[in-house]
Each structure stands twice: as C-alpha cells, then as structure tokens.
Amino acid sequence: MYPVLIVEDERAIADLIEMTLEDFGYVCVKAFDGEQAADFIEKEKFDLILLDVMLPGVDGFSLMEYIRPTETPVIFLTAKSSVEDRVRGLRAGAYDYIVKPFAPDELLARVDGLMRHTGRRSRTIRLWDVEINPDTRTVSKKGVPVSLTPREFDLLMALVLNRGIVLYRDVLFERVWGLDSEANTRTLDIHISRLRKKLGWEHQLRSVPKIGYLLEAER
C-alpha cells in the first residue's frame, strides 16, 4: 500500500481531501506545485495521484508525461466542466475526471472504487470479523454471508466511510434515506439496532446520546 499524492495549489482543498481520505485509512502526501509534484513522483511510488489541472508553472497535462511511465492511475481535479476538457483529460491518460466543486464523499467513493478495481486495495473492506464487498453489496461475518436489506447496506457503508466519527442523526438519515424522504428518523434507530444484531457489533456500533451514532475505527 502506497500513499496517495495530492497535487493541488489551493491549500484549503488539499487539506480537505487529505482529511477525507485519511479517515478512510489512506496515507496522503501533498504537493503545491508542479515542480514539487515532479520531485515526489521521481522519488516515491504512489497508489494514486489526484491532480489539479490548473497548476501554476507546469500544468497538469504536462505533468502527465512524468506520471505515465510510472503507470500510476490519475484522477484529474478541475473547475472546467466542458466536454472537450473532459475528453482531453481522459485522452491524456487520466483514469477519471472530477469537477469542482465536489462533495468529498464522492471523491472518496471514486478513489476507493479506483483502488479496489486496480487491485491496489483489496476488493473488500475488512472490519473486525466482517467482510464487506461494495461491488457486490454483500456482507459476510466470519465467512458466513449476512443478508442485509439495501437500506441496511447503505447505512453500513455510510458508517464505515465515516468510522471513528460520531455522526449526527439527521445527517446520517439524510445520507441514507435522502433529503426528500417522508420516513421517520425512528427508522434510523431501528436499522441501527438491526445492524448491530446482524453483525454482532454491539460494542463497535454505539449510540452517543444527544449527538448520534459512532462506528469505532479499528485500531
């Protein structure tokens, strides 16, 4: 497992990405301009490069020349959303193209997806004795498949992606059931209790009073 290289001249965004990925267990390295990035690429090996196209000095596309020999997958970050730019980016060899502004969750999902598909991470997420396969949307505990409803699976993924953080109830509900849902937040509680039971995570998956729910991070 190698780190993820973040090449972004806006510090705020670089830090944001780092925070998002770190929670998920990715080690990040930040570069603030093209030269710095080139240095890093020369010296170290990375599993993924997140590259801002509009960089001062050397621009993202030219940096691709450096990256290509290393065969490291690249995701472009940019404010330009036109089709030509997208095509140009993909032609240049990028694996994917994310347009700003982006929700960090989406970035994380894409990164994770890429990692698993290129084999740089295992296809499954392992937490304690539970194995989760996001592609097939299957869960197994100690090798035994556990049947979860789609909602339960989504809830599980939300908790897993934010593990170690106490999630606020309404935000969690919003994430899983969507903004327009007319269902009661009570269902959230019911789903949580079902998950705990099915996975046997009575300790790991806790309710924090007056705040929300917490899935502990595996140390």
């Binding site: 806006e10 965004i13 925070m19 929700a103 606020y168």
Partner: protein, 468 residues
C-alpha cells in the same frame, strides 16, 4: 414587378399616348389641309364654270329656262370632253328653287343643294351619300336678267378614303412600333438594371450572414454610388458584427473566469462545512475546518466587493472634481498599515487634478499591493506625481520581479494572474489591475505599464490638471 418591366411599361405607355395623339393630330392636319386645298381648288374651278356660264347666258337671246337648259347642257358636254373625269356635275337653280338644269347624280338630294344655296357663296357644305362624300359649293351668277344659282358637287370621297387609309396605316405603324420598342426597351432596361441584380444578390448573401460580400458596379451613375454605399454598409456591418463577437467572447471569458474563481472557495466551504455537520470531529480538525471556511468566505467577500466596483466603474461615468494630490497621499498613508514595504509619496509642487478622490486612492493602493507582491529587493515602492507636456503624470514604481512581456497585454483582463498561487495566498482575486485600468478610463487616460523581468515595474496614468 421587376424594375426593367416597369420601365418598359412606362416607356410603352408614353409612346402609345404620344403616337396616338401625334397620329391623330397629324392625320387631322393632313385632312384639314386637303380639305382646304380642295375647297380652294373647287372654288376656283367653280368660278370658271360660273364666269363661262355668265358669259354664255349673257350673250343668249333670252333667259328662258329652255335656252338656259340647252346652253348649260352644251357647256356640260364641252366640259366633259375637256376635263373628262374631273368635270364637276352642277345644277342651276332659278328663283324659288326651280331647277333649270342638273347633271348631278341622283344620289345627291335637291334638299342638300338648296341648303348649299342657303349657305351662300362664302360657305361650303359636305354631304355623305352612302360611301361617297361630296363637297357642295353654291355661287350666284351675276349680271343676268334672272337670278340663277350655280351649285357644283365635287367628289371628295378620295380624301376621306385617304384619311381612313392613313388611320389604318398609322395603326399598323403604332402597333409595330410598340412591339419593337417594347422589345428594345426591355433589353436596354435589363442591361441598365443589371447592376440592380448584382445588388440584389449581394444583399441576399449579406442577409444570410455571408461575409466578404461586396459588389462591383462601374456604370458611372447613381447605381455605382449605390454599390459603393452598399460596400461601405457591408464593411460597417461586418465590423459591428466582429465587435459584437469580440464583446460576447470577452463576456464569455469573464463569466468562465468568474465561475472558476467562485468554484474553488465554494468547494472548500462546502466540503468543510459538510464535514462539520456530519459528525463529531476531533478538535484539531474542527479548528482547521472553521479557519478554512472563514478564510474562503472572506475571499468570496472581497471578490464580490471588487467585482461590484469593477461593474460599477464599467457602467457609469464619474464626476471629476478638482482634487489635491496631497489629500490623496494622505488617504493612502492612512489606509495602508505599517507594513513591510516603505512607501515613498513624492510630488513636485502642490498639484491638483481633475479626478475622483476615492478612485484615485484605490488606484494607487492596488498598485502598491501589487508592488508588494512583486517582492522588491529594496523593499520600496515609489509613487510620483510630475507635470508633463500632456498633463499630470501619476506613477507607481517598484524594483520587484517584473512582468514578462507576453503577459503585459493580458494582465488587465479580469481574473488574470501572472503567478496564480502567490496572488491567491495574498488574498488577491486577479481583479486589481482590471479595476485600475477602469479607473484610468474614467479619468480619460490610458493605462501605461512598463516592466522588465528582474528589474522592476512602472505603471502610470495621465490626469488633467485642475487650476484652482
């Protein structure tokens, strides 16, 4: 209808009218002349008849009808021999309308002959019998014992026939003339108005949006001038169009740059706030997130303010009042904090300029900030005010990094930055120089920049002096 047709039609109508009236008049004139000649000739001929008859009757034994009749007949016969067909038949009338002699055709009624007598020797009468026309002249015989009137009939049918023939001929002539003239006029009109076709097709092409459409007409008349005017118009339209295109492009670029400037802080603010609302974050993170949210928000705020200023400047004229440079300098000193750069404010004498105090302050201030960003080694920026031949020059100079030559033309574009990351760190949005350029425009001055890499940058505008 095509213009050529209209022209032809007009010509033909006029020709038709002219020929008709002309023909009528001419034919009528001819006829009248023939008539007059005929009357004159006939009168003279009649006088011959009359005088001869007068002579003969004067020498006759008596004036009995019988004698008269035989003498007249003799005379008639003589005349027939002498003059053959041109002998005119005549009648002799006595008192009370008695017929002494007549060799007139039966078709000529006596009533008409009587009428001729009534008309007198100073008048003539025309009569028509069937297809024939006769001229009747009556004259009294003089110097005889009894009153005798001589009435002659002259066959003028030929004249009428001649006239009718002329009318027919004229009709044919007129018809032919109209046809031939019509054809010729059509051809000529078409040729002359060929230029119109050129203009027409050029206009069509132009309205369809084709560029480079021009006409070439060298007929040396109004059409040529029209062609030239058309070309001028086409030039003007294309220029306008180009200008509009450029304007639209400029606006597109502006919007694109603006959106870009907006998206970056938005991404940060959205991202961090989303993080904070999801769940309990560690304290360090919370601090960082709040910090970033604040910073990016202020950045947005500055962006808004600068943009509003820029748009406001673009829109309107500004009142220029006499302002003293000293006052401006005072404002500058107060607005900038005691910071890393030494600011020298120089002025030759007490000068006042026509300008807007606040805008000029902003102008100098923005440039000072830019100079600071250029990191001059001597840590100094100089503002000078000098009197030149064309006005008062206000100049800001530094010995910093300088601006590359190829970038000089672009730097006053909104959101354009020479080195992106550094300007952003200092909170710059890339609008500073656009605003300065606008301020220069409002003061009716051009915005001049001189810069060399590694040596320094000099920016100045020329203001009008206000005599106080």
């Amino acid at each position: 209808m095509k213009f050529a047709y209209k022209l032809t039609l007009a010509i033909l109508s006029l020709l038709c009218a002219a020929l008709s009236f002309g023909g009528t008049w001419t034919i009528q004139q001819n006829f009248s002349q023939m008539q007059r000649d005929m009357i004159q000739q006939s009168s003279q001929q009649q006088l011959r008849d009359r005088y001869t008859l007068e002579t003969k009757f004067g020498e006759a034994e008596d004036s009995s009808t019988k004698t008269m009749d035989s003498l007249a007949e003799l005379y008639a016969e003589e005349e027939q021999v002498v003059m053959a067909d041109s002998a005119s038949p005549f009648s002799l009338f006595g008192e009370n309308g008695t017929v002494l002699y007549s060799n007139m055709p039966h078709t000529i009624p006596y009533s008409d002959q009587q009428a001729a007598i009534s008309a007198g020797e100073t008048k003539a009468r025309y009569i028509a019998v069937g297809e024939q026309y006769y001229l009747l002249l009556a004259t009294p015989l003089r110097g005889l014992d009894r009153p005798i009137w001589l009435v002659n009939a002259y066959d003028v049918s030929k004249q009428f026939q001649e006239r009718d023939r002329q009318i027919r001929q004229h009709l044919i002539l007129q018809g032919t003339a109209l046809v031939l003239t019509g054809a010729a006029a059509l051809c000529i009109s078409r040729i002359l108005t060929r230029s119109l076709k050129k203009l027409e097709s050029a206009s069509d092409a132009l309205s369809e949006g084709k560029t480079g459409v021009r006409v070439e007409i060298s007929s040396g008349d109004e059409l040529e001038r029209l062609g030239k005017t058309f070309n001028q118009m086409a030039d003007a339209i294309e220029t306008q169009f180009q200008m509009l295109q450029e304007e639209t492009n400029r606006q597109k670029r502006f919007v694109a740059a603006f959106t870009h400037e907006l998206k970056t802080p938005m991404t940060a603010i959205l991202g961090y706030s989303n993080m904070l609302r999801s769940g309990e974050q560690p304290a360090e993170r919370r601090r960082k997130a709040a910090d970033y949210i604040y910073r990016e928000s202020t950045r947005l705020e500055t962006l808004c303010q600068e943009l509003l200023l820029l748009l406001g400047l673009e829109k309107g004229e500004c009142q220029l009042k006499p302002t003293s440079i000293a006052a401006i300098y005072g404002d500058i000193r107060r607005s900038l904090p005691e910071n890393f750069l030494r600011i020298e404010l120089l002025c030759e004498e007490k000068i006042s300029v026509q300008g807007n105090r606040a805008l000029l302050v902003t102008w100098i201030r923005n440039l000072i900030l830019n100079a600071a960003a250029a990191e001059p080694k001597d840590r100094m920026v100089t503002v000078t005010c000098t009197r030149q031949s064309d006005g008062i020059r206000l100049c800001v100079e530094d010995h910093g990094k300088g601006i590359p030559e190829e970038e000089l033309s672009k730097i006053t574009e909104p959101f354009y930055r020479v080195e992106k990351s550094r300007t952003r760190e200092n909170g710059g949005n890339g609008l500073g120089l656009s605003i300065c350029s606008m301020i220069a425009q409002i003061h009716h001055s051009s915005f001049q920049i001189e810069s060399s890499l590694g040596i320094g940058t000099k920016v100045w505008i020329t203001l009008k002096e206000a005599k106080s």
